[in-house]
């Protein structure tokens, strides 16, 4: 399937409460939905999506495939996803470098995995299977990290680059996650981005975090998607855009969801940064 691409402009994660605000594309020019929320037989949720997709390009973002899981992919879930993708014909599909299901129990969170030769094999084969089943090139998103596995032998950037090289998938660069992980693990976000294969970026995510404490006196940033994008994340974003040019950029705000103008202002800020790069 040759899908249309998302525009190199700003979008937001769609929330039902903003349906009436989404008349025509403006600063918010495309929408992302969580695939699992639309795996229902019918009703108002799907009707809203049908109405929106006539006006906005749609990006489908999966949160439940458990691509980093030890077990096989859930075939029934992959079927549901295939059905949704065939119905919506979205501009893009993305999922996470994470696991969320173990032996049939779904944890409703994106859980971390060690980066080893064995997990690389597994993730590669899962991405292959997803792309084959869905008939598209997917994007794989980097996680937010709170801890490290002592058995990891590969860096996250080389792990992602190698999955992409072996499967042909693209990457979704979550710059908030890069910043959170670097802060939590005592590493450098700039160094991460220098190592990251930016040429494979098909979409960028920006979101907010909150600061807590790790029990040992160190700051611990929590990826809440419940706050404005932080200034250091905007700065990293500007650097990435300066380097690679505009990319479809999503403002993710899933908890304590604000009114539409607040989200629109965040999207407009991303759009301005992209426009400045184009003008330069």
């Amino acid at each position: 399937m040759q899908s249309t691409q998302l525009p190199n402009t700003a979008g937001i994660g769609f929330k039902a409460r903003h349906f009436d605000d989404l008349g025509d594309p403006g600063a918010v020019s495309w929408l992302e939905i969580h695939a699992e929320n639309y795996m229902v037989a019918g009703g108002p949720r799907l009707a809203m999506l049908e109405a929106l997709r006539a006006r906005f390009p749609i990006s489908v973002h999966g949160v439940g495939l458990s691509i980093g899981g030890e077990g096989p992919l859930d075939a029934a879930h992959l079927d549901r996803l295939k059905q949704l993708i065939d119905r919506l014909r979205p501009a893009q599909f993305s999922e996470h470098l994470a696991w969320s299901t173990h032996e049939g129990t779904y944890f409703s969170d994106l859980l971390p995995l060690p980066y080893t030769a064995a997990t690389l094999e597994r993730v590669t084969s899962h991405v292959d299977e997803v792309q084959q089943r869905l008939g598209l090139r997917m994007l794989l998103e980097n996680p937010s990290s709170y801890l490290v596995f002592e058995d990891s032998t590969l860096s996250e950037t080389s792990f992602l680059a190698e999955v992409a090289r072996r499967t042909g998938c693209g990457l979704l660069l979550d710059i908030n996650n890069v910043f959170i992980s670097a802060s939590n693990l005592g590493t450098s976000a700039q160094a991460y981005l220098a190592d990251y294969p930016v040429e494979l970026v098909g979409e960028i995510h920006l979101a907010g975090y909150v600061e807590e404490e790790d029990g040992q006196g160190a700051a611990l940033l929590i990826d809440t998607h419940g706050a404005p994008v932080a200034d250091p994340v905007w700065a990293l974003y500007a650097e990435v855009i300066a380097r690679i040019g505009p990319r479809p950029t999503l403002i993710e705000w899933d908890n304590d969801v604000p009114d539409f103008p607040t989200l629109e202002a965040e999207a407009a800020r991303a759009a301005r940064l992209m426009a400045r790069r184009v003008a330069a």
Binding site: G42, G104, F107, S108, G215
Partner: protein
């Protein structure tokens, strides 16, 4: 146990040891850092249940609901990444939860909320237009076999659960509803809830099995009232419509 097996067990079992291969940047065992995931999971499941059962949450209070939801989630973690119907076992679980025995209407309120979300997400279908039956002879009407709309649910309540639900869900029109049967359906995009005459549920179960109207209605029930309730709610689809 596999690496993810240890991780997974410790997520839902706070008394179980955290995985040993997790480190903070200084190389110490990650404890509070692992607990970020425990907390994320607990919050995600609690919030999913609160969004699905807002009136139950209001009746027991947010703090109590959160504690109860954590207990429930440990006993019934999600078995699918599709969370739209997660918590279907909650009404039955509440019924068997001794600390809530003093609120005997609570499981019934929870069943109403569960039926509402099922109706909200059910397949779409055009409801039966009663005018389509207007020209039928009595014999033809008795032989006609409409089926329940995919969104139609009918519950039997022993307590005034619909009234309690209505008072807590900004539906004052339902605040005086008596105990008895409750019909929930969605002919198009809006949910409909109403008190239903006795025998409505039995009629719907018979129609679902394919029985015609002539034999679907219970002997001792008010047939006209059941007809009026089902037709005006848009709770049926025409005979012969393909299964959605």
């Amino acid at each position: 146990m596999s690496g993810q097996g240890v991780f997974a067990s410790a997520l839902l079992g706070p008394e179980l040891p955290r995985p040993e291969t997790l480190r903070d940047p200084s190389g110490s065992r990650a404890t509070r850092r692992f607990d970020v995931y425990r907390n994320n999971v607990a919050v995600a499941l609690t919030e999913a249940l609160a969004a699905a059962f807002p009136v139950v949450q209001r009746l027991v209070g947010e703090t109590y609901f959160a504690a109860m939801a954590r207990d429930f989630a440990r006993a019934h973690p999600p078995r699918s990444p599709v969370m739209a119907l997660y918590g279907a076992e909650l009404p039955g679980w509440i019924e068997r939860f001794p600390p809530l025995a003093a609120l005997p209407y609570l499981p019934e309120v929870a069943r109403i909320e569960q039926a509402r979300r099922e109706a909200s997400q059910a397949a779409d279908a055009a409801p039966l237009d009663p005018r389509a039956l207007a020209g039928l002879s009595p014999a033809e009407l008795a032989a006609n076999a409409p089926r329940p709309h995919p969104a139609t649910r009918c519950l039997r309540t022993r307590h005034a659960a619909l009234a309690i639900w209505g008072r807590n869900a900004e539906r004052p029109d339902l605040a005086q509803s008596p105990p008895g049967e409750v019909l929930i359906t969605r002919p198009a995009l809006s949910l409909r809830l109403r008190a239903a005459p006795s025998g409505t549920g039995a009629t719907l179960r018979a129609l679902a099995r394919g029985a015609p109207l002539g034999s679907a209605l219970p002997q001792d029930a008010d047939h006209a009232a059941i007809f009026a309730c089902l037709f005006t709610a848009g709770a049926l689809v025409p005979q012969g419509d393909p299964e959605p």
